[in-house]
Symmetry: C3
Subunit: 139 residues, 3 copies
């Protein structure tokens, strides 16, 4: 049974890779529901951002940036740039490989995450943007 | 509550990377259900195909192909080729990294996607194939 | 409706990449439920392991290892190593790109997988570890 579907705003404030730890934000929605056991789906309604889990700490985010530059570089030419005149071909590809959805079981009003595992919103676009994630709770 | 579980046919008609925009196909299943709020899971029952979201436009599909050739090339040798005599080691690896499942919230009978975000079936196999995706609707 | 949420132990016994075929383990949980139609979510509560589907055969696992070494090498330096003194920066990045969750439809008490498609637990950490996966069944 779907208990709640809510859109929550997230703002990308910098250029380049932006990683936001949304763990507390999702747990807050779970707590407000008062539901004890179920699953929560986090969905990113965008083609240049994604969601995954990651230990949220600055050094690892640098490593993520380096890794992404290696496999999907920001400084090469993409055919997509011809379509709209935007320079974000790499943003679309990065988003697609990470994917826009994540489903996480919860109990006692908290996601059943590992100790160092955080839910992260990943914004791969080249400019600052107003974003939202959809949080849907099932019990 | 599971409302509907349906298998829908998709045909890969070319060799190499095949990307099919299945957004309308999924929305059609949602509409037929008459359910207003819920989530839909799209699942690919295959080991050489996957599902994700992507802006469906030809230039970006060329970029996806180039990116995949860079990280999981089609022209190198894979150990897997010894197992069955097929030349699709890269297809399995590409499918595994993209993943076979996606869960998307919907309301008013439509998936809550971004403006340029399409649900895409990705066929990584080397030959044309008859495929299907499973669409499961939860409310 | 959530029918069951269970934590199942998996042990990583070697160093390097560890791939465990958990298909039978998940199907066993489904059968014990006695539920015929629904979906099962497999979630990995860890930041250095993930879940996906893959044809489980030794040659393809070698290919997966080679591919991962190419895109997220184990023998380069990661900034994350400064944070905790552990040498598993690559494990976190590999886990994040594969993702921790998978949702699979089932009917007649069996996942609707392709013929060569297995559900695999992927442990990317550098040392042997005791792990668990969360299996949650929805009908």
């Amino acid at each position: 049974m779907i208990v709640k579907t809510v859109e929550v705003k997230i703002e990308k404030t910098n250029q380049g890779l932006y990683v936001s730890n949304i763990t507390d934000l999702v747990n807050k929605e779970l707590k407000e529901c008062g539901v004890t056991v179920g699953s929560v789906t986090v969905f990113v309604p965008a083609s240049t951002a994604g969601v995954s889990t990651l230990e949220y700490e600055p050094n690892l985010i640098k490593d993520l940036d380096t890794m992404l530059e290696r496999i999907i570089p920001s400084d090469i030419n993409y055919e997509h740039h011809k379509t709209w005149g935007e320079q974000n071909g790499m943003s679309h590809l990065r988003a697609s490989i990470f994917g826009p959805s994540l489903t996480i079981p919860f109990k006692d009003g908290r996601m059943m995450l590992g100790q160092y595992q955080h839910v992260v919103f990943l914004d791969f676009d080249v400019i600052a943007r107003k974003r939202e994630v959809i949080i849907q709770i099932v019990t």
